[in-house]
């Protein structure tokens, strides 16, 4: 009791971390990073995403940094998944979906007519909310990507390497031939991550990768993300504020505006280093959202 109210106790955390409803003190760990992105992987200028006539995301301008974890947060329906899917042209698979504006990957417009979406997806991998393992063995799940991409590698070594990186090897090394469906949800999600890094992408997009997992599995995936961020650029959508605070270098806060016709359009409200977004946001809507008053 006395510890909590002891005014003399060292103030190691910010006011927000102490008084807000969520413990986001994790943002205070590590070094401060500059506001501007220096090593740019994705450069978005006025990106708009449409489903038919409906403009789901309007006017996003931001830059994603190399080997950084960037978190997308915001209330449901504000277009986080929509924007994320446009990063590797998965939106092409939805009839009527279309992207306007400039979405450049290392300076190349990935929506230019001569771009092959298959090549884009090989370089920019994706992990979905629900672990979508293939109805095949664990081994074949990992080997599938390299096979279809015609990669000339020692498959056994690659499978072991990817499963090890995904922190799954020790749990499955004795039954690689077993169906992937026999794994638990958390193991399946790590398998999906192993499968994703097997094609050696540069970027991994993750859409709520821990939404269907328990706290222990979530912690494992988070550790894994931090580990992978040394070599990969990661963009993650999450509804979990603590997760954004724990893992990400930068955070983008999105929300949905209602226009004159009552239609909701997603837009980027604020983007910056996670520590600043969580401790000193510029926009009152960000402040409200992260302190749990809204959303």
């Amino acid at each position: 009791m006395s510890e909590i109210h002891d005014p003399a106790a060292p103030q190691s955390t910010s006011d927000l971390a102490n008084t807000g409803r969520m413990d986001v003190s994790a943002v205070l760990e590590g070094a401060e990073i500059p506001e501007t992105v220096s090593n740019i992987v994705f450069d978005l200028a006025n990106v708009r995403v449409f489903y038919g006539d409906f403009e789901a995301v309007r006017d996003v301008t931001m830059q994603i940094g190399r080997n950084e974890i960037t978190a997308f947060i915001g209330p449901s329906g504000c277009g986080k998944s929509t924007l994320l899917r446009s990063f590797n042209r998965m939106n092409d698979l939805i009839p009527g979906a279309r992207v306007e504006g400039l979405l450049a990957y290392h300076g190349f417009d990935i929506y230019a007519p001569e771009v092959d979406p298959i090549e884009v997806r090989r370089r920019i991998g994706m992990v979905f909310q629900k672990p979508n393992v293939f109805p095949k063995s664990i081994y074949e799940n990992v080997a599938y990507g390299p096979k279809v991409n015609g990669m000339k590698v020692n498959m056994d070594d690659l499978v072991e390497e990817c499963l090890t990186r995904a922190a799954l090897w020790d749990e499955v090394k004795d039954d690689l031939k077993k169906s992937a469906y026999a794994l638990s949800g958390g193991q399946q999600q790590r398998l999906v991550i192993a499968r994703c890094i097997a094609v050696k992408p540069e970027v991994i997009l993750m859409d709520e990768p821990c939404a269907s997992l328990d706290p222990i599995a979530t912690a494992k995936i988070e550790d894994l993300m931090k580990e992978l961020a040394k070599d990969y650029t990661i963009v993650i959508v999450t509804h979990n504020m603590q997760q954004a605070a724990r893992v990400s270098e930068r955070t983008a806060f999105f929300t949905a505006d209602v226009d004159a016709n009552g239609v909701r359009h997603g837009r980027l409200v604020e983007y910056g280093p996670t520590r600043r977004i969580f401790t000193a946001p510029n926009d009152p809507r960000t402040e409200d959202y992260i302190s749990g008053r809204f959303g």
Binding site: N88, L93, P95, F128, F134, Y144, V148, R195
Partner: protein
């Protein structure tokens, strides 16, 4: 002690008897049961009738001997059995690749909202409802006459293939549609092409459903007599087909011809052959059901 609002002895007796089942409910239940019973009883009466009648001829001679007009007590259905095998093999050879790939196109490649797709979709459903005799007329005009394939195994195979194609397409599409979208997306997100995704993920996952539909469609083709009568399957043929351009007869045709004969021996022979045909068809359906049950939903 906890406080109670009503003292125990003041509690009114609880009646859980309800109002009883209303008469209408009971009657309806019986009507439903009777409808089901009529169907099942008829099936069993039919089976019992042909089995009892054909019993004396349900011996190996039935599939070892050739048909004969003069000695019905010795005649068998071997040429009809091999003819059926030949015809159904060619039916499968034509119908399966076209049906599977057509269904893959409609389900995986075509834009589902386009007018063309919807037009084709409605027409495939209509084709499935066209009487089989109409396919016989079509086969006669196109394959037998225009393409000069004559009254051969290949004409029969092509015609029956057209007959079962709509069913195969519809059932394959259903099997493909049952494969969860996130498996396709998982594959495409790894940089697989649409064809790789279809060939290595979607189709293997759909195989049980495709197999079930295919077997049911082929068993329908095996039982068809009408179009083949038009196409001139030969009534009495005492040799097995030797190739795609050979003359042939099939089990339903053989049965048809024997039942036309007035002598009792032929009636018995026909009954025995009906049992044989039914056993083949029921076995095929059993395999289809087995496949379906064995590969219950994995997602």
């Amino acid at each position: 002690m906890t406080a109670t609002l009503v003292s125990p002895d003041a509690t009114a007796p609880i009646d859980l008897g309800g109002k009883g089942q209303p008469l209408a409910d009971k009657t309806f239940r019986w009507i439903l049961f009777l409808c089901l019973a009529v169907g099942i009883v008829f099936l069993f009466v039919l089976l019992a009738y042909v089995t009892i009648k054909g019993w004396p001829r349900l011996t190996p001679t039935l599939w070892e001997n050739m048909p004969s007009i003069r000695r019905p007590e010795q005649a068998g259905a071997q040429s009809a059995i091999t003819g059926t095998l030949w015809v159904i093999t060619f039916t499968a050879l034509f119908a399966l690749p076209v049906g599977f790939l057509g269904a893959v196109y409609m389900e995986e490649y075509a834009n589902p909202t386009s007018r063309f797709t919807r037009f084709v979709e409605i027409n495939i459903q209509n084709l499935a409802a066209v009487p089989s005799i109409v396919y016989g007329i079509l086969g006669l005009a196109i394959f037998a006459r225009a393409l000069a394939l004559g009254q051969t195994v290949i004409t029969a195979g092509l015609t029956l293939a057209l007959l079962v194609l709509p069913v195969i397409i519809v059932s394959t599409r259903e099997a493909l549609r049952a494969v969860p979208q996130n498996i396709r997306h998982g594959s495409l997100a790894l940089g697989a092409t649409l064809w790789q995704t279809t060939w290595r993920q979607t189709m293997p996952a759909a195989i049980p459903g495709m197999a079930t539909g295919t077997i049911l469609a082929l068993s329908r083709a095996i039982g068809e007599a009408a179009p083949l009568l038009l196409l001139g399957a030969v009534s009495f043929i005492s040799f097995n087909p030797t190739g795609p351009f050979s003359a042939y007869t099939t089990l339903p045709i053989q049965i048809f011809n024997w039942t036309k004969e007035s002598r009792e021996e032929f009636q018995i022979l026909a009954s025995a052959t009906i049992v044989l045909l039914l056993v083949i068809l029921l076995a095929m359906n059993a395999v289809a059901i087995l496949i379906r049950n064995r590969t219950q939903k994995r997602w």
